[in-house]
Every structure is written in structure tokens, then in C-alpha cells.
């Protein structure tokens, strides 16, 4: 009688492959992780945390973000309360330069090293780019040395070059979800168009920040697909959002991602992306509450957005800073990022 070949456990594999050798999990392996039973989540998170410490170090990168131009976007991303195509209560608003300078100052005062200027647009026009240029100049004149990132939608090569010239060091452009699921989420532009912008950013020497949103009706297999597609891009940072079902959007009645599932996702993404800055972004308050945020920080996350988001509110920055102190996690300093 021959015994059935013993199936190798995916976490054992990950220990050797990801922790020891720094090689991210394959799509099939990520899927196995996403299918682990609840009772193995602590083991998964412990391993993901070890991977993060080994390949990224102990520091946590803190970032603040602000919406320079809110609402009225012509695109139809189904999760987004800022799309002008849905009956969302979010109205258009522009932040003025003094407001932007104040937001950057508030962010720097938390100890954050990153400040991301965001606009709800398909891509920037001349007016927006000149507002960004003036804004960055004013932030510097305020004596603020925080690193500036932007998220202004799809770019042309010329716009990429302009942003580099302005001193923007990182650009955020999310692929949002797996390529195979993207057409269900957005119909006004393609995943490939987003990918093209990301390549241009990378080639111009800016850091690439690219993540997405979990809980938009994707299957677990598509979540695994998304993780390896991100790994293929080799982004410097991956912001991980959990869907906030916002009124008026097509996803307003979608369920909030449940905590255990979200933690499995955090662990799995870390094992797919051992060297990436993996950032807790929007939706963590609804999905996790306070306890889960800690578990995530001990499960592979090494960056957070503090304070409020673009149209939603976060918990007070101080609460997150206290949490990092309690976890004895040092905040990355500007000198370490230069």
C-alpha cells in the first residue's frame, strides 16, 4: 500500500521561500494562504511579521494625505464617492494653498515623513498641475521638509517629467483590483492604462505607490491574482484599503470585509510582497476596529496613513502614534528615507 503524498503546508513553504530567501509567494500559494482556516491566522500573522522585520526592518512609515480637489470626477470607479457619475452626497471642493500648507504642517507634526496630495480626476490638467506646483513651493516656504507624494490620476510623459521637476518623490496610482476583475469595477478606463502610467513613473525614477481595495466582489482567486500582479510591478509601496460602502455608489450595499478575512489578506499580501512598504489605508476603522489594527501591525503591515482620509475620517493621529509606541515600533525618520 502506498501512502498518499503528503501535501506541503503553505506556511512551511513560505517560511523557507519568503522568510529565508525573500522570494514572494506565487499566485497558487497566495490563494492557499487566503484559504487557511481561522485557527491558523495567528501563525500566518506571526510569519508575515517576521518576514516584514527581516526584509523591511522594524520602522513604520507614517503618512498623511489630503484631497486637493474633491469630487466631480468623470470616471466611474464603482467604489468611489467622488465619481460624478453616481448620486453620491460628495460635492466638488478645492482646497486653497494656505489649507494645503496647513494640512502638510499638521501631518509633519505627527512625525510623518510622507504627505500625499490627491485629486479626484482622470488625469491632471494645467490648472491642477500649477496648483500642485504652487502648493509644493508654499509647503517648502513654510519650512516643512516632509517628502511629497502625489496622486493625480493617469499621466502623460510630459506630466511625469513635470512632477519629477517639482520634487515629487513618489506617485500613487492604484491598480485597485485584479486585472480580471477591473472591468467590473471601472468602465471608463482600463487596467492597462493604469499600468502604463505606473511604468512611466517607475522609468522616470519616482517611487511607485500602487495598491487597491479589498472587498469589491472579487473572489479569493482574484485577490491572489491581484497580489502577484502587484508583485510583478515591484512597487515601493502598496496601500491596502478595505471597501467603505459609501452612499450613492454602486457598492453602497456591499458588506464590510470581515476582520478575520482582512487579516488573512494582510498576511497573504506580505508573503507575496516581502520587501514592499505595505500600508494600512482606508477602511481599517470599519473592518478592524482598534484591536484589529494592532493585529495588522503585527501581521505584516509596516506603514499607516494617520489622521483623516480624502472624504472619510480616520481615528485621531495620536491614537495611532500611541499604538506604535505601545507596540515598540519606531517611526521611520526623514534621515532614513533620504
Amino acid at each position: 500500500m502506498t501512502a498518499a503524498p503528503e501535501r506541503i503546508d503553505v506556511l512551511d513553504e513560505a517560511r523557507e521561500q519568503v522568510l529565508e530567501r525573500g522570494v514572494g509567494l506565487s499566485e497558487a500559494q497566495v490563494l492557499q494562504v487566503l484559504e487557511l482556516p481561522d485557527d491558523r491566522i495567528p501563525e500566518l500573522l506571526a510569519l508575515a511579521h517576521e518576514v516584514r522585520e527581516r526584509w523591511c526592518g522594524p520602522e513604520v512609515e507614517v503618512e498623511g494625505i489630503v484631497s486637493l480637489k474633491t469630487g466631480g470626477c468623470p470616471e466611474d470607479c464603482h467604489f468611489c464617492s467622488q465619481s460624478g457619475q453616481f448620486p453620491s452626497p460628495v460635492r466638488s471642493a478645492w482646497l486653497d494653498i494656505p489649507g494645503l500648507v496647513r494640512a502638510a504642517r499638521q501631518t509633519r507634526e505627527t512625525g510623518a515623513t510622507e504627505f500625499c496630495i490627491v485629486a479626484a480626476v482622470r488625469g491632471p490638467d494645467k490648472r491642477l498641475l500649477s496648483q500642485v506646483r504652487d502648493g509644493i513651493k508654499a509647503i517648502r516656504e513654510d519650512g516643512n521638509d516632509i517628502q511629497i507624494a502625489c496622486s493625480l490620476g493617469m499621466l502623460t510623459q510630459e506630466q511625469v517629467d513635470e512632477l519629477v521637476a517639482m520634487g515629487v518623490h513618489r506617485y500613487n496610482h492604484n491598480l485597485e483590483t485584479a486585472r480580471s476583475h477591473f472591468p467590473n469595477v471601472v468602465t471608463t478606463h482600463s487596467w492597462e492604462e493604469r499600468w502604463d502610467t505606473l511604468r512611466m513613473i517607475r522609468d522616470a525614477g519616482m517611487e511607485v505607490c500602487c495598491g487597491g481595495i479589498i472587498g469589491m466582489g472579487e473572489t479569493l482567486a482574484q485577490r491572489a491574482e491581484f497580489a502577484v500582479q502587484l508583485a510583478e510591478l515591484e512597487p515601493d509601496e502598496v496601500p491596502l484599503n478595505f471597501l467603505i460602502p459609501n452612499p450613492g455608489t454602486p457598492y453602497e450595499n456591499y458588506p464590510v470585509v470581515e476582520g478575520a478575512e482582512a487579516l488573512r489578506t494582510v498576511g497573504a499580501f506580505r508573503l507575496a510582497l516581502p520587501r514592499t512598504i505595505l500600508r494600512f489605508a482606508g477602511g481599517r476603522e470599519l473592518t478592524f476596529g482598534d484591536l484589529g489594527a494592532k493585529q495588522g501591525m503585527l501581521g505584516g503591515i509596516n506603514a499607516i496613513i494617520v489622521g483623516n482620509y480624502l472624504t472619510n475620517l480616520g481615528r485621531p493621529a495620536q491614537q495611532d502614534l500611541d499604538m506604535l509606541e505601545e507596540l515598540s515600533m519606531p517611526i521611520k525618520a526623514l534621515s532614513q528615507t533620504l
Binding site: P89, R91, A317
Partner: protein, 66 residues
């Protein structure tokens, strides 16, 4: 005198009409007000890292600052 109508600043419906427990929960966690509580107009809302301002074209501005 007309009675003062108050509206839910999350969903914009009358406070007296229906259950707003979910709205209140969202407002206490992750949402700034979106509708003016006096007239239910949609407000222009600016969220910043440590607060928000919301402006009704008729009833003026409110902010998170206490």
C-alpha cells in the same frame, strides 16, 4: 412659527422619519456631515488630516473644531 425641521447629516432624510442608527454610527466613526441638518442641502465638505469643514450655501459653515 414653522417648526424647525432637522435632518440627518449622513443621509439627508428627516430625523423624525425612520431609523438613523446606522447613520449615527457612520458619523461617529468615519464620516463628516454631508447634509445640512437645518435644510438638508448637500454641503461642500473639505476633509483635512485633522478635521473637516462643511458649508451649506444657506446656513453657513460648521467645522470639526470645537
Amino acid at each position: 412659527m414653522n417648526p424647525v425641521m432637522t435632518y440627518c447629516s449622513f443621509c439627508g432624510k428627516e430625523e423624525a422619519d425612520g431609523d438613523h442608527a446606522f447613520c449615527r454610527q457612520r458619523l461617529s466613526m468615519i464620516d463628516p456631515p454631508r447634509y445640512c441638518s437645518e435644510c438638508a442641502r448637500r454641503m461642500v465638505v473639505q476633509v483635512t488630516p485633522d478635521g473637516w469643514t462643511a458649508r451649506c450655501s444657506r446656513h453657513g459653515e460648521i467645522t470639526s473644531a470645537r
